[in-house]
């Protein structure tokens, strides 16, 4: 069955990519959509098989790399964790595939687009079904490739190409950490197979590993290195700069890759490695703090942006921060739960935004929207559902998952747990605020678009709305239905996730004080009310506020100047160094090397005689000098002749 999940998208990719022309647009769309839908159905069957009862297993496919005692196979690991990911990936991917048929109907490279989406789906499935770190790395880089190709899909645009390269290279920085983590794992365990690593992790709890000449607590070191990889892929603070720029890609791509699935790979990685992180408490503290800071910083930036997609992108980054600090306090189940619900409501928001953009003739700036809620009522209603879920309003999916995360952080009773809790609360306030800011600016108020645009506004076709309904269903029901399975007293995880008795924050989360449970809703409602005040009742207020807190606004509006800082520190300096070294090649190495030798030998040649000319003589001369020099040196040094 797992073969039916993983390989149909690959086959669909190959067919659509290689034979796109002969299949035609319709054919390619049909092939790719059926590929992922088959995968989705198979995933759901697997979910009931494995997660709802029964145990995980691994299917070996073929050997991959073998070198001495290092040997790695292509394999598909099916357990609760991978099955949940498979379902999320294939269901969202199916929705996005179908939606794209409508959204990309004006594009000339439909087959290519659909095939890339399928390629992405395949790579992501390989990532989550890996039973060893190398295959995970394959999937990891594979999704990076698909992301690169899709961000730069409109390859005539400079900005899209720049964003694509930025995404790939920043991710490579993360991959650098992941690769070192892999090497360290192999150095410690002598294997990179998950089963072996996880079985032996408890015994290694006290071992040390030498790295950069220092002895480190081995599991902490591995945990931190792997987390660098996770930070890159999941856009955590420091390695996040690529995510907002990635919005250059077509909107379905943003929904699938940069909201629902790929960016959650880091969360999956840490959850997968829970048997190791449980013995690396310091690494978990780092994960918590980075996650909490990301949740907060991303939310602050989200307050000030005007591009509808960027607002949602920063909200994604912020929500990923929540997932990470949940992981950090050992609430892996809660992180996976939020990952799942978030996939639904964030994909819904993105595709909804896509529907708006589609209606507004490709306008993304919210300052040029407004007053369109009655023209595209279905999209409007669906965006409300997505926002309610995102803000964690009662009975929507986000309510369950976000609350359990905050409660778990509080229940950890540690300084970092507390820190994460309050950062999370602050981020929740801002989340509600910017979500309704987005709704109000986009749909309400006076129309700010040109007449021409306004006259074109139309509701999206059924092929786009259909997937939105599927996602909306998930955004409403997923939290309520799966609460018990993910974070209940008898959660389904079994061996897939390991939590030490002392770290069981999810159980503890069920017993937190009443105010902790209710605070997120209260704060969310305040956020919505503030947004109403700012953008509906007193539309002059935002501008006045901006004037009053000018420096703060500048900082936030410019995304805390991360891009500028990195550009100066890394990008520009790399190019400068490159130029410098290139000059070194010409001015130093060559001058004192071959050119110098040539010059000298020319002079000597000219001095000595004129009966020989040309290059051969020079070589001979250089050769002679070298031979003589070397022989005499040799004889002198060793004191023995030939």
């Amino acid at each position: 069955m797992e073969l039916l999940v993983v390989f149909p998208p690959l086959i669909a990719f190959l067919l659509a990519f290689l034979f796109g022309k002969s299949l035609g647009d319709k054919g390619a769309q049909l092939v790719t959509c059926s590929g992922v839908i088959i995968a989705a159905i198979s995933s759901i069957v697997l979910f009931f098989d494995v997660a709802m009862g029964g145990h995980g297993y691994t299917t070996l496919l073929a050997p991959w790399v073998t070198s001495g005692d290092f040997s790695v196979n292509w394999a598909l690991k099916v357990d609760q964790l991978s099955v949940v990911m498979m379902c999320v990936i294939t269901i969202v991917s199916s929705c996005v595939h179908v939606y794209s048929v409508g959204y990309m109907s004006h594009d000339d490279a439909k087959a290519r687009f659909m095939s890339y989406l399928s390629l992405f789906t395949f790579a992501m499935l390989m990532l989550v079904t890996a039973d060893n770190l190398l295959q995970l790395f394959f999937g990891w880089e594979g999704v990076g490739l698909a992301s690169y190709l899709l961000i730069g899909f409109w390859n005539q645009k400079h900005s899209a190409n720049a964003a694509a390269i930025k995404a790939f290279v920043v991710n490579r920085v993360g991959d650098f950490g992941l690769a070192l983590g892999l090497f360290a794992t192999f150095a410690l365990f002598g294997s990179i197979e998950f089963t072996t690593i996880f079985e032996e992790a408890p015994e290694m709890a006290d071992s040390v590993l030498s790295f950069f000449g220092h002895e480190f607590h081995a599991l902490t070191l591995i945990g931190l290195l792997l987390f660098i990889g996770a930070m890159g892929k999941s856009a955590q603070l420091g390695l996040h700069t690529w995510l907002p720029d990635a919005m250059e890609g077509p909107t379905p791509v943003s929904a699938l890759i940069h909201a629902a699935t790929m960016v959650t790979a880091g969360v999956f990685l840490v959850a997968r490695f829970s048997p190791l992180y449980e013995y690396a408490p310091t690494a978990l503290i780092v994960v918590t703090v980075v996650g909490a800071c990301t949740a907060f910083v991303a939310a602050t930036i989200g307050l000030t942006q005007f591009d509808i997609k960027r607002v949602i992108a920063y909200s994604t980054m912020s929500q990923l921060g929540y997932m990470f600090f949940a992981l950090g306090v050992s609430a892996y189940g809660a992180a996976m739960f939020h990952l799942m619900t978030h996939a639904f409501f964030k994909a819904l928001l993105f595709l909804g935004a896509g529907s708006v953009i589609h209606a507004m003739s490709d306008e993304q700036d919210m300052r040029k929207m407004g007053g369109i809620y009655n023209k595209i009522p279905i999209t409007y209603a669906l965006m409300w559902i997505g926002s309610l879920a995102l803000a964690g309003m009662p009975f929507f999916a986000g309510y369950y998952s976000k609350d359990i995360i905050l409660e778990a952080a509080f229940a950890d009773h540690s300084w970092w747990g507390e820190f994460a809790f309050w950062m999370g609360i602050a981020a929740a306030l801002m989340t509600a605020f910017y979500s309704w800011r987005l709704l109000f600016m986009t749909f309400h108020g006076k129309p700010r678009a040109s007449k021409k645009v306004m006259s074109h506004i139309h509701e999206s076709p059924p092929v786009m709305l259909g997937p939105l309904f599927v996602l909306a269903t998930g955004a409403v029901l997923a939290g309520f239905v799966f609460y018990e399975a993910f974070v209940g007293h008898h959660a389904m995880w079994h061996e897939a996730i390991k939590v030490l008795e002392a770290n069981d924050t999810i159980t503890a989360a069920h017993h937190v004080p009443f105010w902790v449970k209710k605070l997120p809703i209260g704060i969310g409602l305040i956020g919505i009310a503030l947004a109403y005040l700012f953008y509906i009742s007193k539309p002059k207020l935002p501008e006045a506020t901006v004037k009053r807190v000018k420096p703060l606004h500048t900082l936030l509006f410019n995304k805390w100047f991360f891009d500028e800082l990195y550009d100066a520190a890394f990008v520009k300096s790399s190019f400068k160094l490159g130029k410098l070294f290139w000059c070194t090649d010409k001015q130093v190495v060559d001058r004192f090397g071959p050119d110098g030798a040539a010059g000298t030998s020319n002079k000597i040649a000219a001095l000595l005689s004129r009966f020989q000319s040309g290059y051969v003589f020079q070589y001979a001369l250089v050769m002679m000098i070298a031979v003589i020099g070397l022989i005499s040196w040799f004889v002198f040094k060793t004191g023995q002749g030939f």
């Binding site: 390269i165 290279v169 150095a187 070294f581 290139w582 290059y615 070589y619 040799f634």
Partner: protein, 519 residues
């Protein structure tokens, strides 16, 4: 194993082709046409023999196979001794595979002196295969240096504007190195009394002498590789060489350095190799980071790929001198993979060069519109060069780094930054050539790949992906030989460590500090 002199046939079949081409007479056009076909058929026959050898090769044995031996210069004790093990067999195959590709790549772009050009390539093939088959150090030297002559001519006669300067630089660098190597080989002969490579491996010389000899052969192989800082001939040679010249240069000639390390440095001078390993690590790291940064600012497509070659070869030297299974096998795999990928990248440059006659990156742009097939093929090789898992480029890089991490984490971490920079310069190149708006009218009119070009590139695409997904088809043939090499290496280093006089060690160590300034 059998009486049939397979290796000699493969080595000298190209020379037979040369003789026949020499005999071709008649109208210039006809001669050119016949010479081309003759060269192509000869190289294809050689390839067929090479494939036969690959299939017949016994992967369970680490010994030299298909060996041939006869007295050559009996009074001097020089022998004609050929044979291949898992390591050299691969390079023979690579040489035999790339030669027909080169000949086909030159089909239309070479217009003058076609007959001589084809002869030069066949002579080159003879020397290349000979180098990898030779089991006698002097015979090896003859082939190894012989390669220079046709290559020198290919660059110097059929090259670009500054061809003479480049050819000369190439020759000067490599010759300087090889003089030192000849000295080393002669010393070995005097000391051990034989030039037979297997015998030399079995009877290593004293440690002091090893250090000197190691340095001498290192000079030669490091130039060939090329390692930093003796790499500056490579960009110039590549830029001026005709496309096929670049392909064979990147594909095979650079690998002779790595092969030399594996055949001479490591087994014959094990103690010296261990002693100098830090120096090699230092140079490799500098090569990886330095040349990657230089590649980032290149404006010439060929120069950029040439610099990237130096960086990729850095992984090879790094891997080989870790003297671990992963490192050495990774290094070998990286050489094979780089031979295919960079060869193919130069072919890709050749494709657009043939159409627009410029290598300047800025003269292209947006050609994905008019050359979609080309864009796809070029993308696959770009990704291979970047080392994306699933392509052959990944396996070699990964194993080299894995080996390096076992030996020294700092080295591994620094070298791994090359992976980030590699992505930057290759994707930047791809973006500027293939993506973006079509600002150059003439570039926008270039036709897509023709059938000949597809026939050239498609097999390499398949190989790069196949080796990426299933590298074991090669690994299993290499493994026993590497195991034998390393067992021998460890025995030597282990026994030496016990018997060596400590004071002497210190004295030598201080003397070498001047040489090995890196560490």
């Amino acid at each position: 194993m059998f009486d049939f002199p397979l290796l000699s046939i493969m080595t000298f079949l190209p020379l037979a082709g040369v003789l026949i081409i020499l005999l071709i007479r008649g109208d210039e056009k006809v001669v050119a046409q016949n010479a081309k076909y003759m060269a192509l058929y000869t190289s294809l026959f050689t390839l067929a023999f090479a494939v036969f050898m690959y299939l017949k090769f016994d992967p369970s044995s680490a010994d030299f196979q298909f060996t041939e031996q006869s007295n050559w210069l009996a009074p001097l004790g020089l022998k004609y001794h050929l044979g291949v093990d898992g390591i050299s067999m691969l390079f023979v195959l690579l040489s035999a595979a790339l030669t027909p590709v080169c000949i086909l790549a030159s089909w239309e772009s070479i217009k003058k002196r076609v007959k001589e050009y084809m002869m030069a390539f066949l002579v080159l093939e003879c020397f290349m295969i000979g180098t990898f088959c030779a089991l006698d150090s002097i015979l090896f030297y003859v082939f190894f240096e012989g390669v220079l002559i046709p290559m020198f001519l290919i660059i110097g006669v059929w090259g670009g504007e500054r061809r003479v300067y480049s050819a000369y630089k190439f020759f000067l660098y490599t010759l300087l190195g090889s003089v030192l190597m000849l000295l080393a080989l002669l010393t070995l002969y005097v000391q051990v009394g034989t030039t037979d490579i297997p015998t030399l491996i079995e009877n290593p010389v004293a440690r002091d002498l090893q250090l000197w000899l190691w340095l001498a052969v290192f000079a030669s192989f490091a130039v060939k590789m090329p390692m930093w800082p003796v790499h500056t001939w490579l960009p110039d040679a590549h830029v001026e060489a005709p496309t096929a010249g670049s392909v064979i240069l990147a594909g095979v000639l650079l690998k002779m350095g790595g092969y030399g390390f594996l055949r001479f440095s490591l087994p014959m001078f094990p103690e010296a190799s261990e002693f100098f390993a830090p120096l090699v690590f230092g140079l490799s790291i500098v090569a990886i980071i330095y040349t990657s940064l230089v590649a980032l600012v290149q404006e010439d497509m060929k120069k950029l790929i040439a610099y990237s070659s130096v960086a990729h070869m850095g992984f090879v030297t790094l891997g080989i001198f870790t003297a671990t299974r992963y490192g050495v096998e990774g290094g070998i795999f990286q050489m094979l993979s780089h031979g295919l990928i960079s060869g193919a990248l130069f072919l890709c440059v050749g494709v657009v060069y043939d159409r627009l006659h410029t290598r300047e990156i800025a003269r292209y742009g947006g050609i994905v519109k008019n050359m979609p097939k080309y864009a796809t093929v070029f993308m696959i090789f770009t990704l291979g060069s970047v080392g994306l898992p699933g392509t052959s480029g990944f396996v070699g890089e990964f194993l080299s780094l894995l080996g390096a991490f076992q030996v020294n984490t700092v080295v591994a971490a620094f070298a791994a930054t090359g992976v980030i920079l590699g992505a930057a310069y290759m994707l930047l190149l791809y973006r500027r050539v293939v993506f973006g708006p079509q600002e150059n009218k003439d570039a926008a009119k270039m036709p897509d790949l023709n059938k000949r070009e597809i026939a050239l590139l498609a097999p390499i695409v398949v190989l790069v992906l196949w080796l990426g997904v299933s590298p074991n088809i090669v690994m299993e043939k290499v493994s026993p030989s590497v195991e034998k090499l390393l067992t021998h290496y460890e025995e030597q280093v282990g026994s030496a460590a016990q018997s060596n006089d400590l004071d002497e060690l210190h004295e030598m160590g201080e003397a070498e500090m001047l040489e090995g300034g890196e560490e």
